[in-house]
C-alpha cells in the first residue's frame, strides 16, 4: 500500500503558489472542497486561474476567493446567480472563459486520461468556436478542444481510504472524479477517512493512483443553494 494520507489541509496544500492554475470540484455548492477553499483564503495566494463549473455564490465556495480578489482568471460554464462574479467579469477585473459544461468536463477527463485534444459538436457556429480548428465527420461539424493543464486539483469525496481510493455520494460527484489526476498534484478532502481494507474494492469510484494527498476535512457546512421542498 502506498500511503496518501496527510495530517491536515495545510500540509495538503503545500506548494501552492501565486499564479497557479487550480481545478476545483463541485457543481453549485454541492461537492465543493470547502476545507481547501478556506485554506486558500487563509494563505492569501493570488492571481489564481480557477477551473470550476461555477464560482460558488457571493459568500461561499469560490465566491470567498472572488471577494478577496485572489482569482485572476475564471474558467467556468455558468455565472448564474453570483452577482460578484458577474460584476467583476463585466468590469474586466476578472478574466473569464465561459466553456460549455460538457466540454469543461471532457477537458478535465482528457487531462486525466492523457488525451491532448478531442472533437466535440458543442459550440460549433458560436463564439465558443472562434479561432478553433473545426472538422466535419459524417456530415456533422465539430470543434477541436484541448485538455486542461493545471498545477493543483482540489476535490471533495464522501469516503476515502489511506491509499487515496475515493467514493462519492449522490450528485456531489459531478466534476470531482474527472479532476483527479488531471493536475500535477491532486488533493482530496473526505468526510470519512478510513483505513485500507475498509472500502469494498468493487465500489471504489476513483482508484488511489489518481490522488496524491488525502485528508479528513474538519468542517463540512454543505450549504444548500436552492432549498426546494414539497409539503406532506
Amino acid at each position: 500500500m502506498i500511503t496518501k494520507t496527510v495530517r491536515d489541509v495545510t500540509v495538503a496544500l503545500q506548494g501552492i503558489q501565486n499564479g497557479m492554475t487550480v481545478m476545483v470540484g463541485g457543481f453549485g455548492l454541492s461537492g465543493i472542497p470547502e476545507n481547501a477553499i478556506a485554506e486558500l483564503v487563509r494563505l492569501g495566494v493570488k492571481n489564481l486561474t480557477c477551473i470550476s463549473n461555477n464560482a460558488g455564490i457571493d459568500d461561499f465556495g469560490l465566491g470567498l476567493l472572488l471577494q478577496k480578489k485572489q482569482i485572476n482568471t475564471m474558467i467556468a460554464s455558468y455565472v448564474g446567480e453570483n452577482a460578484l462574479f458577474e460584476q467583476q467579469m463585466i468590469s474586466g477585473e476578472l478574466k473569464v472563459t465561459l466553456t460549455p459544461q460538457g466540454t469543461l468536463a471532457e477537458k478535465c477527463r482528457a487531462a486525466q486520461m492523457g488525451i491532448p485534444a478531442f472533437y466535440t459538436p458543442a459550440g460549433y457556429g458560436t463564439e465558443v468556436a472562434e479561432g478553433k480548428e473545426t472538422r466535419e465527420f459524417d456530415g456533422k461539424h465539430y470543434v477541436l478542444e484541448t485538455a486542461y493543464k493545471a498545477d493543483f486539483a482540489l476535490v471533495k469525496a464522501w469516503k476515502g481510504d489511506e491509499a487515496g481510493n475515493l467514493i462519492f455520494r449522490g450528485t456531489s460527484r459531478n466534476f470531482n472524479p474527472l479532476m483527479c489526476g488531471a493536475a500535477q498534484i491532486t488533493v482530496a478532502e473526505v468526510e470519512e477517512l478510513l483505513p485500507v481494507g475498509a472500502l469494498n474494492p468493487n465500489e471504489i469510484h476513483i482508484p488511489g493512483i489518481f490522488v496524491n494527498r488525502i485528508f479528513k476535512g474538519i468542517q463540512f457546512e454543505k450549504r444548500i443553494e436552492q432549498r426546494t421542498v414539497q409539503s406532506k
Binding site: 457543481f27 455548492l29 460538457g102 450528485t171 460527484r173 450549504r223 444548500i224 436552492q226 432549498r227 414539497q230
Partner: protein
C-alpha cells in the same frame, strides 16, 4: 387566451412518449415533470449527474448531496443512478437522451437558438445548453413568445450570441406551437381562443399558416 407557464409545461408533457429519457432545462422546462401521465415510463436526467430524478423532497428530507442542475434539492426515484459530469454529457453527446426541453431568449426561423448572453448586460453562461443543443435528437423550446419590452423572440435571425445552429425542432409558447421547417415557423396549434392575427403579430420571423390550425387540446 394566452397560456401561463404551467400550461405551456402541460402542453409540452404531451410530447413525452413511453421509454423516453428526458433532459429538462431551468425555468418553464422544469415544470414539465409535474404533468407526466402516470402510465408513461419516462426518466428525467439532470446534467449534474442523475438519471431517475424524482420530485422535491419533503420538509426535513433535503440532502445537499442531491440537487438538480438548477441547484434545487431533489429526490432520486427507485432505479435512479448517479454519475460524473463527463458520463452525463456522454449521454447527451452520444444521443442517448431522447428529448431536450429548454428555454430561450431568441429562436430564429432556421432553428438557431440564443439563450446564454446579452452582451454588456447579462451574462449567465451557457452551462450545459451548448452541449445539449449541439447533440440532442429532439429539441423543444419552451418560452414566452414576447419579451418584457414587447419584442417577439421568434425572429428571422438571432441578434444575440448563438447557443447552437439549426437545432430547434419545435417551440411551445403562451400563444402557439410551431415547428421549424425549411420556410420558417410553421404554425401547428393555437392556444385556446388565440387568433392567427395575434400570433402573427407576435412573430417577427417568417410565419407559415396552413389552412387549418387546430387549437391545443388539453383541460386547462
Amino acid at each position: 387566451m394566452a397560456l401561463d407557464k404551467n400550461q405551456i409545461a402541460k402542453r409540452i408533457a404531451q410530447e413525452l412518449k413511453s421509454g423516453y429519457y428526458v433532459n429538462l432545462g431551468i425555468g418553464i422546462p422544469t415544470l414539465v415533470s409535474n404533468y407526466v401521465p402516470e402510465d408513461l415510463e419516462v426518466e428525467f436526467q439532470s446534467e449534474n449527474g442523475i438519471l431517475g430524478m424524482g420530485p422535491f423532497p419533503f420538509v426535513g428530507q433535503e440532502d445537499p448531496d442531491l440537487i438538480n442542475a438548477g441547484k434545487q434539492t431533489i429526490t432520486a426515484l427507485p432505479g435512479a443512478s448517479f454519475f460524473d459530469s463527463a458520463t452525463s454529457f456522454g449521454m447527451i453527446r452520444g444521443q442517448h437522451i431522447d428529448l431536450t426541453v429548454l428555454g430561450a431568449m431568441e429562436v430564429s426561423e432556421k432553428g438557431d437558438i440564443a439563450n446564454w448572453k446579452i452582451p454588456g448586460k447579462l451574462v449567465k453562461g451557457m452551462g450545459g445548453a451548448m452541449d445539449l443543443v449541439a447533440s440532442a435528437k429532439n429539441i423543444i423550446v419552451a418560452m414566452m413568445q414576447v419579451n418584457r419590452s414587447g419584442e417577439s423572440k421568434l425572429v428571422s435571425h438571432c441578434s444575440l450570441p448563438l447557443t447552437g445552429v439549426a437545432c430547434v425542432k419545435r417551440i411551445v409558447t403562451e400563444l402557439a406551437v410551431f415547428d421549424i421547417v425549411k420556410e420558417g415557423f410553421l404554425l401547428v396549434e393555437r392556444a385556446p381562443g388565440e387568433t392567427i392575427e395575434t400570433i402573427q403579430n407576435a412573430t417577427a420571423g417568417t410565419l407559415i399558416v396552413p389552412d387549418q390550425v387546430p387549437e391545443m387540446r388539453f383541460s386547462l
